[in-house]
């Protein structure tokens, strides 16, 4: 896990804006998008769905990716992952 400052400083290789969808939309978007980046690259998922906040970190760890942390914004949050 990274600190908020470290997360803010990250430049994502892929940004997935899933704020327009409810669960399971963001998880599906994340699942599709992670296939398009290389191992070690960073993906940022934007979501406004409260269920997703717990789902994506758990899913990522289970699938061998690294969950780096979440930044709360106003009305949505950014979840950072590093592809395993």
């Amino acid at each position: 896990m990274m600190s908020t400052d470290e997360l803010i400083a990250l430049v994502a290789d892929k940004v997935v804006d899933a704020r327009g969808t409810a669960c399971p939309g963001p998880l599906l978007e994340a699942k599709k998008a992670i296939g398009t980046i290389a191992s070690g690259e960073i993906m940022e998922v934007l979501s406004a769905d409260e269920g997703t906040k717990k789902d994506i970190p758990k899913w990522a760890n289970k699938k061998g990716h690294e969950y780096l942390g979440t930044i709360e914004e106003s009305g949505y949050f950014k979840i950072y992952l590093k592809k395993g």
Binding site: G20, T21, A22, P24, G25, L27, L28, K31, W59, K62
Partner: protein
């Protein structure tokens, strides 16, 4: 590591339960599960060609149909068919139509069913699949 297996008996053919099945299926797809769906009695109606517009009833709270559809639209929830298609794109999902169920709604051969359907099967296959599954659901 071998993928976990989910077997789903899809007995229901109402739009609320089909949508719920689609959400569960999406979760299984995100988790790379192998999924076998056995479409039983009422469910088969939804898989017979040209029935798309006839699938509009709710099993639960039928009087709140308008509210249900309005919420789906507001939340941009995909249709049950879109959920099933997405899951098929993401993971190994096979949809088996129970032969009796198909016949009840006028579907005897594969060409009578929508493209989502993979084959027609007997109940023995479902039971065998359920015995082997890590997760077994009846919806």
């Amino acid at each position: 590591m071998e993928n976990k297996k989910m077997t789903m008996a899809l007995f229901s053919g109402s739009i609320d339960k089909l949508t719920g099945a689609g959400v569960v299926l999406s979760g299984a797809a995100a988790d790379d599960m192998d999924v076998d769906i056995y479409v039983l009695l009422m469910g088969a109606r939804a898989f017979v060609k040209d029935n798309e517009d006839k699938i509009d009833g709710l099993s639960e709270y039928p009087h709140l149909k308008d509210e249900f559809f309005k919420s789906l639209e507001t939340l941009k929830v995909p249709t049950w068919i879109e959920f099933f298609e997405m899951a098929k794109d993401l993971t190994n999902v096979k949809i088996h139509i129970c032969s009796l169920a198909g016949k009840m709604w006028g579907g005897e051969k594969m060409e009578d069913f929508i493209d989502l359907a993979d084959d027609i099967c007997g109940i023995g296959e479902y039971i065998e699949s359920a015995q082997e599954a890590d997760v077994h659901l009846f919806i």
